[in-house]
Symmetry: C2
Subunit: 402 residues, 2 copies
């Protein structure tokens, strides 16, 4: 049982935030944010698997090793990726400037950047922005902090919930930025989660893994994985619940369920804001041999440009979906394959089941469409979320850096 | 040493062809073709690896087992894929009707189909078309036969060469259809090659493998692999050269070099006609640990929608290229990575090498662009061909079946 609450990432006790206009973005909007916990918080984080990992990823990977941190400093407008030795120096400087301004140790700060690749950070602006943000931290700062991490996002992605652990009210909240380049394994995506739950770093890490495997690792916009992605969760213990220090407990189960709820909520919002998206697709594969096979089929369908453009065209071109199922590499058999769109079965035993065209056209015209594939091979299932491919996607990405 | 010749797939001795309008395509254009050898020809073929393989693929896979065939019967406008039991019956009927009309055994015919998935063949039209085509076979039929295999192709893809093997003139020629869904492992692509070389079926198979691995397996348009792809080569021995029956011979080397030339020519044309393409990209990766790594990097770059839209926008957004190199999974190191576009080095040691912007803009404005990536890890290299992603791609694929 949980309820929605207000206050964003500052809703959990002991967290403050700020977002300021530092002049990095051409738009002049907020581009430096700080999220701060009044006390050291247990931290768990996951980073991009891209071999060209950006400097802030390299620096933050190191910073989370201790298991606790107290602040996150983020800039948008410049990714500090493919920036060589200078990029590493700049990322470390970001952490140091934030630590000094906040009066904490420099290894208590993680840093993140998002924006264009291959350009060095304008460090005078970044430094001034971090100092300013540190001076403006407040319980109301969550909205501006969220603005400060956005790039091509067209709407704000956040959620905050309250639930109970052994009689104590516990809060958990998150913000995310996404839009293009969204793919499993943490593609250009930043997500920061705060909670006042008391949980040990080691168990928090397991919980984050579980939650991400069923949320951020199950979405795809265009199949590209970026150099800068990061998801972190800070747990400062201010709720006063009994410390969760083992997986074998009902408190852990309750906590991980809430963390999953936050991650799925934000992951779906990231897809809904996929660059140029006009359709939100939920693709569920059932009857697979195992979860890996179910996921590989769902992802093959979700990533196919031909499937994605067909949905943009509101065209129930199911042959393209079956084609993607066929090349996915999973164990499938066309004579056992069933496909439904919006609850209407359109393929049975691998062939056209002659659905009602009027009803089907109505489904294709909707903004959100459920795609259900039954493989008839076993009992495993997986759900993946994606969006369509539109003219607008091409336009946004053809013009981005110029 | 080889020279271009006229006569298309009928240029090799002993081959005739025809293409007729059978009324399968809505456009009313040629949609049934036959390619015929006066004598049984050695055959080698490769088929889609898609688990949803179309009925003609299943039937033809069987037919090539003998090692010789005498005719190919093809229709466009309907793929006969995802058509269940009836689809298999129809594909077999196509072969039988062609065999009867040509006065040969039914296992001497391979069949192929291309077009929309999930719809049964209009067998009355297909049967009448095959009979008509069989009656119109001629040395001049190559041009109409080529038209009969096309779908969304905007230009005809063919080539014909003559070369010498131990004093005998040998001819080799090919036609292909492509456009969308082009990806390694034989994506929606039909290719028929004829030659009057004398070569054993077993050795012909090896030669085709070698040639396809460096041509059709090195192209990608949108990453989708289709249900219907097929490439076949018929060698009828009419040139009278000494039979090539072993790989360890200079004749084999000469033959495979010519087969490769035909395959690369047609594969590049398929990419140049990628749906909505405005740019032709040749991506060469050097300095890889091995060929597999070089190919995986080149393919990751070639398949990235973000890279493809950037080229459409004439935007030298090299960060996206490096990002794709990074997530390819190959062994790479950003500090050793070099990138050049059109011969202009723009990244050195993983960072911006500040190229001349005027010269770079000129390169980006060209129709054909060479992308060269040096990994600094070893000595292996690979070249992949692809095209950009345009508004037109989305338009063509959003509207295809409606």
């Amino acid at each position: 049982m949980s309820k929605n609450i207000t206050g964003g990432i500052c809703a959990p006790q002991g967290f403050k935030a700020a977002g300021v206009k530092a002049g990095i973005k051409k738009s002049g909007k907020e581009d430096v944010s700080i999220i701060y916990s009044e006390v050291p918080a247990a931290v768990a984080a996951m980073f991009t698997t891209n071999a060209m990992a950006a400097a802030p990823v390299i620096v933050s990977r190191q910073a989370v090793q201790n298991g606790t941190i107290q602040a996150v400093a983020v800039n948008s407008g410049c990714a500090n990726a493919s920036t060589g030795e200078q990029g590493l120096i700049d990322a470390k400087t970001m952490a140091e400037v934030a630590a000094t301004a906040l009066g904490i140790a420099k290894d208590e700060v993680i840093v993140a950047s998002t924006g264009i690749i291959g350009v060095n950070l304008p460090m005078d602006k970044v430094t001034a922005g971090i100092k300013k943000a540190a001076g403006e931290l407040s319980k109301d700062g969550y909205a501006k902090a969220l603005k400060g991490i956005m790039t091509t996002d067209t709407f704000e992605k956040e959620c905050a919930y309250e639930f109970e652990l052994n009689g104590k009210a516990v809060r958990i909240a998150g913000i995310a930025k996404g839009a293009g380049m969204i793919h499993p394994n943490m593609a250009t995506m930043l997500c920061f989660i705060t909670t006042d739950a008391a949980i040990s770093p080691a168990v928090l890490k397991e919980a984050l893994n579980e939650a991400v495997n069923l949320s951020f690792h199950m979405i795809t916009v265009d199949g590209d994985t970026s150099t800068n992605d990061m998801i972190s969760v800070l747990a400062n213990g201010k709720a006063g619940n009994k410390l969760i220090d083992a997986k074998a407990s009902s408190d852990y189960q309750k906590f991980v369920a809430m963390l999953k709820q936050v991650c799925i909520h934000l992951a779906k919002q990231v897809v809904q804001d996929g660059e140029g998206a006009t359709k939100f697709l939920e693709i569920t594969v059932r009857g697979a041999t195992d979860f890996a096979d179910a996921k590989v089929v769902a992802m093959a369908v979700a990533k196919s440009p031909l499937v994605k453009t067909a949905f943009f065209g509101q065209d129930p071109n199911w042959g393209r979906i079956l084609c993607a199922v066929g090349y996915s590499g999973a164990k499938v058999d066309q004579t056992n394959t069933t496909l439904a769109l919006g609850g209407i079965t359109i393929v049975k035993g691998g062939v056209d089941s002659k659905p009602d065209i009027h009803a089907l056209n109505k489904v294709m015209g909707e903004r959100e469409i459920k795609v259900e594939i039954e493989l008839g091979q076993g009992t495993a299932e997986a759900t993946v979320w994606t969006c369509d491919f539109s003219y607008e996607y091409v336009k946004i990405n053809a013009d981005y850096s110029t």
